[in-house]
Amino acid sequence: MPVIRPIDIWFADEVFPHEDRFLAAALRISGSREEAEDLVQEAFTRLYTLEGWAAIDNPRAYVVRMLRHIAIERLRRQRIVDFRQLADADHLTLVDETPDQHRIAAGREGLRRVSDLIASLPERCRTVFVRRRIEGESSKAIAQDLGISLSTYEKRLARAIELLSRAHLGGETETAGDGAETCDAQGRR
């Protein structure tokens, strides 16, 4: 099995760019941020085990519908349910109706955010990330040029990816303000 499978690419390109939107939608239906994150995670988990993912022509709307259904399943397990929160999630249905322009706009915003996030990475992390990802240099060349071992290079790159994915979640803003040391402080957690 390849490391990066088609479903991973599909997830990366079609699902995660809308994660902020999913989280916002989930926040409207749930009581807390923790619960909302959990709701989104559950939707992703179910989506990942879906056989027919390739046939989903509008993944964003699909995930929003899933969120809705999961929220309802959970509500039904409670006794007296406060439906008012659910009613506030009016915009959930808006999402279903919006055509492709919206997706493009959302995607653009996502990309702009990623470049902002890259700019705010600790310098050592940013350097390896930009040279590998944006400029397409080989890993060995970058490590040699920087005078670091491949293993150190790998850790800096991993740290960059980790910070970006965490920031991408929107919840943790650890990227900004972290010193350059952070990049190499791999095993501290």
Partner: protein, 323 residues
Amino acid sequence: MSIFNDQRHRRRKATREAAGWLARHEAGTIDEARFEAWRAAHPGNAIAFARALSVWRAAETPSSSLPQAQPLAAAGLSRRRALGAFGGMGLVGLLAAGGVATRAYAWDSARSGIGECRRLILPDGSRAMLNTDSLLQWRFSDTERSLWIARGEVALELLPGIPARVHGQGLTAALSTGRFNVRLQTGAMDVTVLTGRAAASTSTSAPSSAIGSPRPAEVAAPNEGLLLSAADPSVRPASPQHMAATVAWQQGEIVFDNEPLQTAVQEYNRYLPGKIVIADPDLTGIPVGGRFTSTDPAAFLSALELGLDIRATPHEGGFILTR
């Protein structure tokens, strides 16, 4: 909360590990078997890896190749506007159907319109509150306080004094000092006791079948309900949820606790000038729960659509529910 914290912690760990795997993949040092084992170990790992991949892939596209900005679609506005209009409708109905207190025969009376809630003070200082579409009449003599609920539902707060009786649907209950919620159902009167006592009263129309010796009357205590009907009166305990739902209307709210949709809709319709109709019989049994504003069904209908995929179509001032 600790469950959520654990989950959050696990997600952070998965995020860190996923970043490590992707970096090793990029550096060409990945051990694929170990990676696969990690990815298969927990669904959260696969998701974390795809998330790492998504930022990786998103970082590549140079911004110049992006498509031009497009105006955002304004779809769905009409629906939102429509819901807003329905919300306003409840208010109009409420204003139009103002309550009128009049003197009728020897009885005093007070009524409330649909969607309206009225408070009033009875001659002895006791209080009554009329729920939507209700009619209460009363006559206080030297020996008895008689209350007659001709229609709807009334909350009573009785001060100490001469005996009090409440009549409805040809049935009678004797009430002590205390707080009660009395609601007429088809062919029945339901008295819920918050404080005090409510006793089934046999004396009113007194048909008294020949042999029927006086039974010990059924008496309901606080947190119990006394149901009077053509059958024998019965007393049943009321759960805290039931008690909360019973008095919710006094705060302008309506509470459903796992009621079939049909029951919930009937309940809501008591408050609405334009009724909700269930068009699809398959929907009637779906259990629903929730707390809503009684005079404005917008939130309720929106919850139905959102939660159960049931559509509410406006029709002649009301709504038709379909799937």
